[in-house]
């Protein structure tokens, strides 16, 4: 027995040293991991969720289209200078963009998801809904043409990727474009039909506005076959549009369906506050445990330090992205970590009452508490698994996932520390003079 005890102690010291080495310094690289990763709510940044409109995409091509969208967004984000941008597909048609530690202006955000798909529309007269007989109103509808029996919408997806900005003879800004082969066929039919009528230019359902704030809707002068120009835009708008129309064009329209922006400054406060809350919580628990369970409690407090170090080292290694809720999970797991010790100490107390010596009380207490410790953690594991799935399945599930992960790791490690670490510490006292005084190890012993 004493030999096994020594090995356990050495093992614990080695694990603790390893955990400390992994953890400190926080920014030091260990096994390829550096620093502790914080979620958006703690380090600030932006999370944008878009839904791609795949209604015009032929079945089977969706995945490819989404990949295209992701590539375009990546290009648009580059100039913002984010160190670890994360763009991923979610579900069938959603795209999540995460830009940690970055302040992004509203204008920049809008540019990230900008479709840059210009659609040409014609003005038609439709009966007023619910209006009187014969009453009509004017409405912009997509200008289309039938090519080989298929209806095609005239839009900028038929632009060649050589759109550029130029000035006309009077110094006005022009956006010049050329039609692709198919585009020129559609354009020929549409413009042929619309001679003398206005043609609207829309981005989504929003009309393109000129420098003077009015809608750009030129009158078609002649049939357009190969190339065209859009006039009236401001220099900035024209430049931006031409670059997005070329390489940076999104294949399908995107709709912003969710956003989470947190100022990096706001997050910093939370890290500091939660660390404070965690430390105060742990200190209070140590104080309570030592006051109530005496020497056993003090040893449990020592294993709590071991526990905290090991869990944090695991957070860094795995790595676990720490969110505010994740800190909540960690803090909760500290409370639960103590539970295993409490269960054991209460059993030890009973063993002492039956007149057992320290060694027997420790072994009896641990073995009899084991089933309760095991059973009582199973439900927590079940809940953690479900929550992890939830966190993974929804757009803003980062917090839930963080909570599930930290709680799971915390509870798993707490079983280990309570059973191996505290027991090994306690066994050190078996056979020493202190072992004779059971009042050092448990409350109310000796009485009754």
């Amino acid at each position: 027995m004493p030999r096994r005890r020594t090995w356990f102690l050495i093992g614990i010291i080695v694990v603790f040293a390893l955990a400390l080495w992994v953890l400190l310094p926080i920014e030091g690289e260990r096994f390829g991991r550096k620093g502790i990763q914080f979620g958006l709510d703690l380090q600030g940044g932006v999370r944008l969720v878009y839904r791609a409109d795949l209604s015009q995409v032929s079945p089977g091509d969706e995945a490819e289209v989404i990949d295209g969208v992701i590539a375009v967004i990546a290009n648009r984000i580059n100039p913002l200078g984010v160190t670890e941008p994360n763009i991923e597909k979610r579900g069938k048609d959603q795209i999540v963009v995460e830009l940690p530690r970055l302040s992004v202006t509203d204008v920049q955000k809008e540019r990230i998801g900008r479709t840059a798909l210009l659609e040409f529309r014609e003005l038609i007269e439709v009966p007023v809904e619910g209006g009187e007989e014969g009453e009509v109103e004017k409405k912009w509808i997509s200008a289309t043409a039938f090519i080989d029996g298929q209806e095609k919408v005239l839009n900028s997806s038929y632009f060649k990727e050589n759109t550029y900005v130029a000035r006309d003879n009077f110094g006005g800004i022009e956006l010049r474009f050329e039609w692709t082969e198919e585009g020129s066929k559609v354009s020929e039919i549409v413009t042929g039909r619309l001679i003398g009528q206005p043609m609207g230019i829309f981005e989504g359902d929003v009309p393109l506005l000129g420098d003077d704030g009015t809608e750009i809707a030129p009158i078609v002068q002649s049939i357009i076959r190969t190339s065209g120009r859009i006039t009236g835009l401001s220099v900035n708008e024209a430049t931006e549009l031409s670059s997005q129309l070329n390489a940076g064009r999104l294949p399908v329209p995107l709709e912003s369906v969710g956003e989470l922006t947190i100022d990096p400054m706001l997050g910093e406060d939370f890290v500091e506050l939660s660390v404070k809350a965690g430390i105060i919580g742990i200190l209070l628990i140590m104080l309570f445990m030592t006051a109530y369970y005496r020497l056993s409690g003090l040893l449990a407090s020592l294993s709590l330090i071991f526990y905290g170090t090991l869990v944090l080292a695991l957070f860094k290694l795995i790595p676990v992205t720490i969110t505010l809720a994740g800190i909540g999970g960690f803090v909760l797991s500290i409370g639960m970590a103590v539970d295993a010790n409490v269960l054991i100490f209460e059993r030890m107390k009973e063993e002492f009452r039956t007149g057992q010596a320290l060694g027997a009380a420790i072994e009896g207490g641990f073995s009899r508490a084991w089933t309760a410790i095991r059973d009582s953690n199973v439900t927590t594991f079940i809940v953690c698994l479900i929550l992890y799935w939830v966190g993974n399945s929804i757009a803003f599930g980062g917090s839930v996932k963080g909570f599930a992960l930290t709680l799971f790791i915390g509870v798993a490690v707490s079983m280990f520390t309570a059973i191996f670490v505290t027991r090994t510490f306690l066994r050190l006292f078996v056979g020493t003079g202190l072992a004779q005084r059971s009042s050092f190890f448990t409350p109310y012993s000796g009485r009754k």
């Binding site: 839904r51 969710g258 406060d269 105060i280």
Partner: protein, 298 residues
């Protein structure tokens, strides 16, 4: 010295009965207030360079036609809840506020579209069902070795429902009085509470089974009472340590994690109480088959 908890079961049942009644009424009358996670909408967090009071801000927002609620956090930022703001609407809101109060800093912005919100609500519902099934399976497994598995399982689940109802009741009241909304973290907290509550009950039931096996008394009432007293300090100590860390979290971190921590706090208090004073006592009442007489006797 021996506490007689079991003998006072009428008291405990009455206390729980009243709490559940209040919770059910509060839930029925006020309902839970869904936050933007489930109902869609926007939350804008702003700070102003010049001194602005919450009342002033509320007045201006009402004047602009926004009906949402305004909160402030300890850092002096204002949290404005509105219906979903599009980019244009948000620019308009910020423009109006700048005009009124001078320079503003945007500290945070959250926007949830109805599509995402309904998806979140659906998944939260799935999770609740999943957890219910998981817990039922666990209870069946954990109690199959007990003498009357169905009795034990049913009592544990009644205690669980008791805890969930109380948390829901408290949040209905907090929603009606302080405008607290339930979000995804509320559901997370609720599931964590379910796990915790079952844990506690299992520890107590385990002890009952053990004591019955050892045959410490022929009277089931005595067996249960002894088991309760034996596990009392464990249950209280564990809850105490957990409550302490949660209280630290509520006190120091505040607003953003408050709902979550309060959900856990109330759930853990209710769970500790029900695992000691409801689940085992229901077991005794059931075992003795004296439901009718027991309510007459005081």
């Amino acid at each position: 010295m021996m506490f007689n908890i079991v003998g006072k079961r009428l008291w405990f049942f009455s206390i729980s009965g009243v709490l559940i009644l209040i919770s059910a009424v509060a839930w029925g009358v006020f309902g839970l207030k869904p936050g933007i996670d489930f109902a869609s909408g926007s939350i804008t967090t702003l700070s102003f360079e010049q001194e602005v009071s919450q009342a002033e801000l509320e007045q201006v927002l009402a004047g602009l036609g926004y009906t949402g609620r305004v909160e402030s956090n300890p850092q002096g930022d204002f949290i404005i809840r509105t219906t979903r703001l599009t980019a244009e609407k948000k620019a308009e809101l910020k423009g109006n506020l700048t005009e009124e109060f001078g320079t503003i800093n945007e500290k945070g912005f959250e926007n949830v579209d109805p599509v995402i919100a309904s998806e979140t609500a659906r998944i939260a519902l799935f999770a609740a069902f999943g957890a219910a099934i998981g817990i039922l399976l666990y209870v069946t497994w954990a109690f199959h070795r007990m003498p009357k598995p169905f009795h034990y399982g049913a009592c544990a689940i009644i205690a669980l429902v008791h805890d969930v109802l109380i948390v829901v009741g408290v949040f209905s009241i907090l929603g009606a009085t302080l405008g607290w909304e339930i979000n995804l973290m509320f559901i997370t907290g609720l599931l964590a509470v379910i796990g915790y509550s079952i844990n506690n009950t299992v520890v107590v039931f385990d002890r009952i089974r053990e004591n019955q096996h050892r045959g410490i008394s022929a009277d089931f009432e005595v067996v249960v009472n002894n088991s309760l007293v034996e596990t009392l300090s464990r249950s209280l100590n564990t809850s105490l340590t957990t409550v302490v860390v949660l209280a630290a979290l509520i006190l120091f971190v505040g607003t953003s994690i408050q709902n979550f921590a309060v959900t856990l706090l109330i759930g853990i208090l209710a769970g500790t109480y029900s695992s000691l004073c409801i689940a085992p006592l229901l077991l005794v009442a059931w075992e003795k088959g004296k439901w009718g007489r027991f309510f007459l006797r005081s």
